[in-house]
Symmetry: C2
Subunit: 241 residues, 2 copies
DNA sequence: ATGTTTATTATGTCTACACATAAGGAGTCG
DNA sequence: CGACTCCTTATGTGTAGACATAATAAACAT
């Protein structure tokens, strides 16, 4: 026999941790491992699947990060009673969100002021008295139709550069992302009644329900920026899993 | 010298991947690795930190899962331009959400009907003609005050048990969680104008903006349940990181 | 019975090593 | 110049083995 025979070992059939994950999820969702049941130990499973314990550990860990499993030392691995308790939302830049749908993106600066922070803002951003802020109103269009109204406040003390920047060409979002280092963020979603600005720019009727997201950004305990994004009528923020 | 001296090796100083992660994040947020910069390779970093490449890989992988880094084969590891593009929301059961604030939880069934699915619902849940559904209206109270209105539809064909269940004592949410296996889920957030139900039960004025979350649940390609949760005035869904 | 220590055990993580794979870049050829 | 191949390189993932740690269960003492 020629020694080429040894090449038979092609398609090495190495079971990857992803395959193991898939099989585990299968067994949980459609198979024998119902909610609350206790899984065999890692060693036993590793043996059954023909993988090393390292790999099995990784698979189980990732499945548990998906929210399916609950793992405790000594106690073992258990299928969670309540399926998944977390929702992940991708929050791309508006530009990316619009361009992904195939629509043309356009940005427009509506107004720009450098003023003393009003009281409510001082409290919200924990600014000191007489703090100056840059106030911007911007519009984001998808194929010429207003898609999102951006109402942004920037702490001038924390970011003096912002007072010199005119945001007519490049949106504050993209500018900030390129300028400010990573920071602490607080995001909220809420429903608001359409105010004058939204009526004027987004085409709502006064008092219409508007889906808004608010984002406050901090860096080293100093507020950097606070922005409210008002979305067009009927906007939904959706995620699937 | 007594041989107890050897015990000096206590506190073995093993650098864990968590410590490495912390240091990496530090260098990104406050240190030399600004947005867009390219990190040294795993091997080099591993050497610098005095850990194995496996550990360094894990650290880098997890930091990148947090949204800080972008990793590509051959291209290397790069600091993301846009800090964090995803928001994670914990979505506990209402009961847990209310009890966490220290308030007393109370559940009340408002109405319960078994009917033919209306057209919009048939389309939304992809039910066939003449499909029967259970329609529930439920209220969740925090300290006696209406907190959330639950408008739920259950596919009677996929879940015949639901037609026999009277949901006067236990909420459909908790019942479903205990009954239905893990499933595919689609969650949306949206702003709605208060309708008659919300006015009657949540104390909104007609047309008020209401923050709603809608959740559609599937199991093996069959719709199980569709629920809309309307929140009380001023409700915000918030996350921080 | 109750509180405390001790042993056991399943998961958590580290190491060293090897091979797989994607993708940038150089070189080649038309 | 463009399209192709091939090489190189950084990350991706697998293995075996060892020790760490948390948490239960058993043994013990009060």
């Amino acid at each position: 026999m020629p020694d080429t025979v040894r090449i038979e070992t092609a398609k090495a059939e190495t079971t990857t941790f992803r395959e193991v994950m898939a099989e585990i999820i299968q067994r949980i969702t459609e198979g024998p491992w119902g909610p609350g049941s206790l899984l065999p130990g890692e060693v036993e499973l590793a043996e059954e699947f023909g993988v090393s314990r390292t790999t099995m550990n990784r698979a189980l860990r990732e499945v548990s990060e998906l929210g399916f499993l609950d793992r405790k030392r000594k106690a073992g691995t258990r299928v969670r009673m309540a399926p998944i308790r977390q929702a992940r939302f991708e929050m791309p830049l508006v530009r990316a969100e619009i361009e992904k749908t195939g629509a043309a993106y356009r940005y427009q600066l509506v107004s720009r002021d450098v003023i003393l922070a009003p009281d409510w803002l001082r409290e919200r951003m924990r600014l000191k008295a007489r703090a100056r802020v840059v106030h911007l109103l911007c519009l984001h269009f998808a194929d010429g139709v207003a898609f999102q109204l951006e109402d942004r406040w920037i702490n001038a003390q924390a970011l003096p550069l912002a007072t010199e920047q005119d945001f007519s060409a490049v949106g504050p979002n993209e500018w900030l992302v390129a300028t400010v280092p990573f920071s602490e963020v607080e995001i909220s979603f809420l429903a608001q009644a359409a105010d004058a600005q939204m009526v004027a720019h987004l085409g709502h009727a006064p008092g219409d329900p508007v889906f808004c997201s608010e984002r406050a950004t901090w860096w080293q305990n100093a507020a950097v920026t606070l922005v409210t994004l008002a979305h067009r009528r009927g906007y939904r923020m959706t995620t699937r899993y």
